[in-house]
Symmetry: C2
């Protein structure tokens, strides 16, 4: 008994939670109860017309069937029901007239016509573009069979049809009246909010991906739900997955929204609901890049932690700017504001350019030079030194000894070794050379303070490699060696993400034009 | 009139096409017609029992409503209808008894109970996990209201309920009998085929991506349908999109398949349909990588054509081996065969390793050295020469003069220049150096026949860069410079795809264990 009490308590708690998170559900349920109450009352009042009330079930049936959550769905179902009933009624009347001509074959004619109509209507229903009218076909079949069968018995085709139609009209009137008249729930509004919410979700995922990547957050064990693309609570994953997965929901809402009359903020005939879905599709196209970025975190092939730090500022800036663009667009969709004069992509393009320039200057960090058949990267120390002096004019300069001090004073965190591929531990110059400058947070990262030091090591490294001769090819190293390239992948996926933002902005502008979004407040002030 | 004739012709043609591509649709339509015919006949035969036939609409309604395409859907709808009707009937009877106690408040009591039941049932229906039982709730509401209202008027609660139930049972019997007895269509079979088909689709996409990438196929203008993730005829896109998009379809089929009794090849209670969806989820996880590979083709940032050729053989081998694994798994799913002793991933892992080794040896091709702050790549010619001799022991050797001849004899196709980033045209060594060896198809691609030649150029290039001093940073170059890294991205995405195959094989093995797939024929022969 106690356990039952607990279960009941849990159910009530869940019900309460659902109501709190979406109060429209409570309103809708109350509306449904009200509509049923009204139709019952009407049936009571009409008691004198016994003949009519015999078919009272039709009125109740219509209310129950037509009463959908959103107005669009209600209207589309009602229309389906109306057209299905009317056309079936018309056809049935015609067929009944014909059947009279058949004389003694009347029964056979009726039965055959039922088979034929059943076959054709069902076959037509299965055609893909007929999907939204599925319910109409069902009503059509039901009405046709019912009229043919009952009409044959009583000989009162017209009366049956008219009575049914009146009661259906009554049910529909009550259903529509209550559902539209009291606190209507619009599918279009839902679609609008869904699209705006997707923007925020993708933005959160993007930020999370970049920051987790820079902080070398790794999954101890990748949740199998992610590996099989099921819903999961992982916040990074949830954001983009929701945006990617919402296609079917959007299509359903779009199918309903186009039935809705102009209302609220959407005061326009032929409101461009399709463009909301298009914007969401473009967002999805961007979200796939965020998904690929997340793939870099999920991957077994992990870039060495300290190399990521070199690009830290730039990556973070692009991530933050990209997320900001998404958020801003999301808010603009929500508020139905145009973009205005400001180039929303300016900052993110700047950031991407900076990242790209950094990559150009430091792309040697993105490859392992050990195995190169043209020899390891830095060739002759003197040559390198000359180059360095050239370079260091523009850069903060630090002497060799200082760099060595740096290396000694900062303990190399041992825990990271696991993430640094084995091949790099021994003699890879950057792996060691960059650790100090990044561990020591007083220096701006990316400044090659230990340039000379690194050069010397790498020269030795080059020699070591040369002396070793044969490249080391162990089976297990296959994936490990890809680690440096993994950073390159992350970087170029991020840049590709930025490139895709352009399409997103384009489709947003198309939407804002077609839907006549208002001008932003800021731009009005300046002009 | 002529136009109408044409339209009719088109409609007929489409209908014919649909029937030819899926004859089950014709069979199903005929079954529907047959069921309707049978129920009409039964109603005729029962003409003596006027009282019963008064409610004949219930039998027809049940047939029309319960008759779904697949057996699972039919059973689940039938069960919903049955439970909904029975529980509503029971509740209504109890309430009617109670209402008698209310005396003169009877009407008010009934109306209030209708509101309360309507509210609670609708609210419960909106709870997400209740979605599959949505239809049951509708039937419940309808039955409850109908019995309360009609019962009040005639005072014959029990008779109404029993008559209705008998007719519903009759309709259900006819519906089930025809739908299950004649050529049953199983949702489980559909799910099985859908999953197997997705494998083939992704395999085709993968092959297409790799070959298009190597052949430098570019979209003159990326179809806006791809940019907004809508269905499109593009064969590369279609393959993986179908696999990615099939989630909702799979969920629906799974929801029906679990209702189906053991049948045909699925002779087992609690057949692991869930694992099919899981395998499909893992496949989707791989498909996302194919999608990212396709993204490399869609991207504005394109790797120079001749560098792609360097990795041609390896990329092609990985692509072919990966597609082969997918195809084989797809066929095994289709045939319901276990993997057997063979390591299905052996070949693709070998290929990925080879690609990885090549990348290790040639990753200098994946970066642009111009802007490096540690100086351009090749340092001192003597050093390079030494290294080259070391390397060339293992490689086909060609003298400098031969290489120069190569370069002169083969015209550099001017059209390619557009794809080679501007920065590379002038002095990037590989851009020029590799062209001959790949244009001249008598040589195996990837063999650095012009090693020495390239070295000399690149040395000059290095100097040029040094003398230039400042790195060139134009705004428009941002994306162009990413071009070399784009190849690195493509490569590591492909390797990540291979890594993900492991999860796919794991979930396939789980499925094959749980669903008791048969041992493959080959393995039986060897043991």
């Amino acid at each position: 008994l106690f356990r039952r009490y607990r279960t009941a308590q849990e159910v009530l708690h869940k019900a309460w939670e659902m109501g709190r998170s979406d109060p429209r559900k409570i309103v809708f349920s109350a509306k449904m109860g009200l509509a049923l109450m009204l139709i019952s009352l009407l049936i009571y009042l009409r008691e004198p017309f016994k003949d009519l009330s015999r078919y009272s079930v039709w009125a109740i049936l219509t209310v129950v069937v037509v009463f959908e959550f959103s107005i669009g769905a209600t209207l589309s179902k009602g229309l389906n029901r109306g057209i299905g009933t009317l056309s079936a009624g018309g056809l049935a009347l015609g067929m009944a007239e014909l059947s009279k001509l058949a004389g003694e074959w009347e029964e056979a004619f009726i039965i055959t016509s039922i088979f034929t109509v059943g076959f054709v209507a069902t076959y037509a229903k299965l055609y893909p573009t007929m999907k939204p009218y599925e319910y109409g076909f069902r009503v059509f079949l039901l009405t046709y069979c019912f009229i043919m069968v009952s009409g044959y018995r009583t000989g009162e085709f017209i009366e049956t049809a008219v009575t049914r139609f009146l009661l259906i009209a009554l049910g529909a009137a009550v259903g529509f009246g209550v559902n539209i008249g009291i606190y209507p729930i619009w599918a279009g509004e839902d679609l609008h909010n869904l699209v705006a919410k997707n923007f925020i979700g993708v933005a959160t995922s993007l930020e999370g991906c970049v920051s987790n990547y820079l902080n070398c957050v790794e999954y101890v064990r990748v949740p199998s739900k992610i590996l099989t693309y099921q819903a999961s609570d992982d916040p990074l994953y949830k954001g983009y997955r929701t945006a990617v997965e919402s296609t079917s929901q959007e299509d359903a809402l779009l199918g309903f929204a186009i039935w809705e009359p102009p209302h609220g903020r959407y005061k326009m005939f032929n409101y461009p609901w399709k463009n909301y879905v298009k914007v969401s599709g473009s967002l999805r196209h961007c979200a796939f890049m965020v998904m690929a970025l997340h793939g870099c975190i999920l991957s077994e092939i992990q870039a060495p932690a300290e190399r990521r730090q070199v690009f830290r500022n730039e990556l973070q800036r692009v991530g933050a700017a990209g997320a900001k663009v998404l958020r801003e667009l999301g808010i603009k969709v929500q508020k139905m504001e145009k973009l205005g004069q400001v180039d929303i992509l300016y900052e993110v393009h700047e950031a991407a350019e900076e990242l790209q320039n950094k990559v150009d200057r430091k792309s040697y960090l993105l490859v392992n030079s050990e195995g190169w058949e043209i020899g390891s990267r830095p060739g002759e120390p003197q040559e390198s030194l000359n180059l360095d002096v050239d370079e260091d004019k523009h850069l903060e300069y630090k002497s060799l000894s200082e760099a060595v001090l740096d290396l000694r004073s900062v303990p190399v965190p041992k825990g990271w070794d696991d993430k640094i591929p084995a091949g790099n531990n021994g003699f890879n110059p950057e792996g060691l050379g960059y650790l100090p400058s990044n561990m020591n947070s007083t220096q701006p990262p990316g400044v090659p303070s230990d340039n000379l030091f690194r050069k010397n090591i790498s020269w030795h490294a080059g020699l070591t490699c040369t002396h070793n001769g044969e490249p080391i090819t162990e089976e297990s190293k296959t994936y490990e060696n890809a680690s440096a390239l993994a950073l390159a992948t992350f970087t170029s996926l991020l840049i590709e993400f930025v490139a895709r933002l352009q399409h997103l902005v384009d489709s947003f502008e198309e939407l804002s034009e077609k839907a006549k979004f208002k001008e932003p407040v800021e731009s009005l002030e300046t002009t």
